[in-house]
């Protein structure tokens, strides 16, 4: 419905569309100069640097993650291996402060540190979304969700683990290697005695050794390739601790009991990933550590609109950054593992910390603060490329998933198999007449272009579940690459959307809103003439003549 047009100074009379967002900005009480998301080595260094430079700094970290969220394998593939102590929030907070002593230093220095606080979206004003001024972050702790205004933001959200499906991988005890590492070191709550490590890269071996130090027995390193890709010293240390080194092997299936994984059966594979018929060997273990690939956790960066590309030297899809850690979004920086993962960076926290400091310096400058006394540092550079991560990932998916005897669900949430992904099959609950899996369809969906995982997602539902595609995203990309005979780097990234953490409706609903929001709320555009039935529509339309229609319910 239209209000009576009002006189404006310069132009024609301006009407008001009371059903639009104009004038309905939510009240936002809190603000900061620099928001930092993620209190790992990069985030903490950034916070200490920025606060020393005189900025108001808010450092949020989602740990401790609510137990229910962990149970859904968000943000990491925890595989149900959380010890009961994770329910004790205070105990976890204490262990986090023990694991990261610099957090106390940051609090002491005046950083506003908020643990147990997830950033579920960054909402900058942009040409196509102008209704909220400035830059706003959507944050959530255990009970509430709220908005925080910021001027600059550094995202330092770390990494997660690539999932790869095999028979029985849905069993509790199959978990991401970095999830296990986080539970062991940050939560002091990893429920695992004996693990096998699936993958022999530098990142995998590094975590294997850390878990060995934390008291987990590593029974075996299982690597599909014919040799261990990571440093020999690291695998030797695990071997000295009792680990068998099994190259040219994959997990055929897990075997389990009421507690989940009780052992794994292995199969030998050749260089093409084909399995030999030899008898399957069993290894006793309660945990399978998925360490096929460490994936930069870029969901917040991508959902905010940073330009993203597949960069093999940085571990896959990452935000494009410059020497100052700046992304394509002018006020947004990436630091730490989410900005890229490469072997020499994994060896210590030094590179991540340096990235945090560089980003903080750049943010201080953008804020107009003087980074007094802060030493300028040279840009971080990645290792000279020595690894073929595209080939490695495709080889894992081929050997483990495509050549698997059963048909495990690649997407556990939506229960979609590799064949269904490759055939773009409608979900089973539609009971659509069965068509033989036909990879031709995947390729034909958009002739001349690489199949897009977003299309695969919409048609098969793979990646659309509550874990928000965390366990299946990279596998699906690899399957699409294999099915369409393209390079992995040519397969686009399935898009991320806020909230990048699952948020209960009631919690999201509790954000304050302007009173005007309720007053002008319409189910559709609130254009009265739109819903006038066709037998009553006037032959001509003008704005002057179109007013006076009764309000109508949009459909």
């Amino acid at each position: 419905m239209l209000a009576v047009p009002m006189k404006s100074r310069a132009h024609a009379p301006i009407g008001r569309d009371r059903a639009s967002v104009a004038g309905k900005q939510p009240p936002i009480e809190e603000s900061t100069d620099l928001l930092i998301v993620g209190a790992g080595p990069a985030g903490i260094s950034a916070a200490l640097t920025a606060v020393a430079g005189g900025a108001r700094v808010t450092l949020v970290d989602e740990n401790p993650v609510p137990l229910r969220t962990m149970g859904e394998d968000v943000p990491l593939h925890f595989g149900g291996r959380m010890a009961p102590t994770v329910a004790n929030r205070n105990a976890v907070l204490e262990s986090i402060l023990r694991a990261r002593p610099q957090l106390a230093e940051a609090i002491e220095a005046g950083v506003d540190v908020r643990l147990g606080t997830a950033a579920w979206g960054l909402f900058p004003q942009r040409r196509t979304a102008r209704w909220i001024d400035g830059h706003v972050a959507g944050l959530a702790d255990e009970d509430r969700a709220y908005l925080l205004r910021f001027r600059q933001v550094i995202v330092a959200t770390g990494c997660r683990d690539m999932g790869v499906a095999f028979d029985g991988w849905q069993r509790p005890g199959v978990m991401g290697a970095s999830a296990a590492y986080k539970l062991a070191t940050l939560y002091e709550a990893l429920q695992s005695r004996t693990a096998v490590l699936l993958g022999g890269s530098m990142e995998a071996l590094q975590i294997g050794n850390a878990l060995l130090n934390a008291g987990v027995r590593i029974a075996a390193i299982i690597e599909q390739a014919q040799s261990i890709p990571g440093p020999a010293a690291l695998s030797a240390r695990l071997a000295a601790g009792g680990a068998r080194i099994l190259t040219g092997h994959v997990i055929e299936r897990t075997e389990g009991d009421a507690q989940g994984v009780a052992g794994v059966r292995l199969a030998r594979v050749d260089a093409e990933g084909r399995r030999s018929a030899a008898q399957l060997e069993r290894i006793e273990c309660d945990t399978v550590l998925l360490a096929v690939a460490a994936i930069p956790a870029i969901e917040l960066l991508e959902a905010t609109g940073c330009s993203v590309d597949f960069q093999a030297g940085r571990g896959g899809h990452v935000a494009l950054i410059d020497g100052l850690q700046r992304t394509s979004v002018p006020f947004l920086y990436a630091a730490g593992d989410c900005a890229g993962i490469w072997p020499s960076k994994t060896q210590s926290d030094a590179t991540a910390s340096r990235e945090g400091r560089i980003a903080a310096r750049a943010a201080l400058q953008a804020l107009g603060a003087k980074p007094a006394g802060l030493e300028e540092e040279a840009p971080v550079s990645v290792d000279p490329e020595t690894r073929d991560i595209e080939g490695e990932r495709l080889a894992w998916v081929r050997a483990l998933t495509l050549h698997c005897a059963g048909a495990p669900f690649v997407c556990q949430c939506e229960e979609v198999t590799a064949a269904e992904i490759l055939g773009l099959s409608p979900p089973r609950y539609l009971r659509w007449r069965h068509e033989a899996a036909d990879t031709g369809r995947l390729v034909a969906a958009d002739p001349g272009c690489a199949p897009h995982p977003d299309v695969v997602k919409r048609l098969t539902r793979a990646g659309m579940g509550p874990c928000q595609g965390r366990r299946c995203r990279e596998q699906i990309a690899a399957l699409v690459a294999l099915g369409s005979r393209r390079r992995l780097a040519d397969i686009a990234l399935a898009s991320y959307r806020p909230p990048v953490r699952p948020l209960p409706l009631a919690q999201l609903a509790a954000l304050p809103e302007a009173p005007a929001m309720g007053e002008g709320w319409e189910s559709w555009f609130g254009i009265a003439s739109q819903w006038v039935p066709f037998w009553r529509t006037p032959p001509a339309y003008t704005v002057a003549g179109g007013r006076g229609e009764e309000p109508a319910a949009g459909e």
Partner: protein
Amino acid sequence: MSTRDGTGAAVVIIGGGVTGLSAGWWLARDGVDVLVLEAGAIGWGASGRNGGGCSHHHSPLFREEQRLWPLLDELLGHPTEFQPERIRIALDERQLALYRQALENAARQGFRSEVLDPAQVRELVPLAGEDIAGGYYYRFGGHANPHRTLQAYAWALCDRGGRLLQHTAASGFDTRGNRVVGVRTSRGTFACDQLVIAAGPATADLASLLGVGVPLMSARAEMIVTEPLPLMRLGGVDGNGLYGRQTLRGNLAYGGGPHEWVETADVGFTRPYSTPLQSSIARRLCQLLPKAAHARVIRSWAGFIENTPDGRPIIDRPGTVENLTVATLSSVGFGLSPASGRAIRDLVTTGACGFADLSSLRLSRFAGLEPDWRQLQGWLPGAVGAGE
């Protein structure tokens, strides 16, 4: 009509949304040589970003919409996830009065509805709560899955010999006299005997290249999706200022509330970002279905949508260009698509719609429209602050 030679088609359709794809499918099933050009990927615009509703009782295409949806899976040969019927819940007297209009419009066209008291609503809708004024059970309409339907049209089009080219942006036209003879694109020029422009927000710019003025303004709207919940008997439940449904998988997918006007020039290939508006949608969904308040929101999305000044579609042959058909469904295109595609086929092949009176959808109704209509209606983007 010209023969198929790979560089043209008898009918070229610009726009791979539901309207263009449905029109292409209807033409292809008649054996017409048809080529659909899509600038991005199919359904990238509003067609893939809507609630999937199919109950537009105000439209001259309503009867045909209702006839076709239950047949569509079989006609297309691919699933659309169509589910019939809809319950609309009113939480207060104002909503009760507003939603009643549907009953009268539908009844006049021979469709049945029932008035529900709060207890009946709760009986039919397990996720509903205590604060209910009443509801309506529309024994018509329903909903489908937009993405699945889009792909079904596209596959059906190709199954019947039609062609679809994605990532092919139209940039201009070759004309001869009053006729368009070629469409210039990022992949070369495609000859045509007939041209259909059904390009969503881009329709106005493309038509203006042919001297045809189509008054349109673009806006951004948002929706949210929850994790799956146990299936209700009927998924087509909405109301309280929201549209949407429980999907067959169990997710609650809802939208509604304010839109944001945007410059069409800014739409381009910009991704439509969602904003904290998702919280206001969540709030109203909690009121509508309080027993789902614990369900977690796992996605939100936004879409760019075009509207004409009166919000009604334009499906017309403007006449100044002999072989041009223009179609915009003005923000209500998904549900009507089976019928709008058929209407466009009729206009293209015979010059008139054979099953419905489209006189209310003529472009000429805007002949006397004020040039500053956007301002007059308050359909302007807001100011952008200085930012950082």
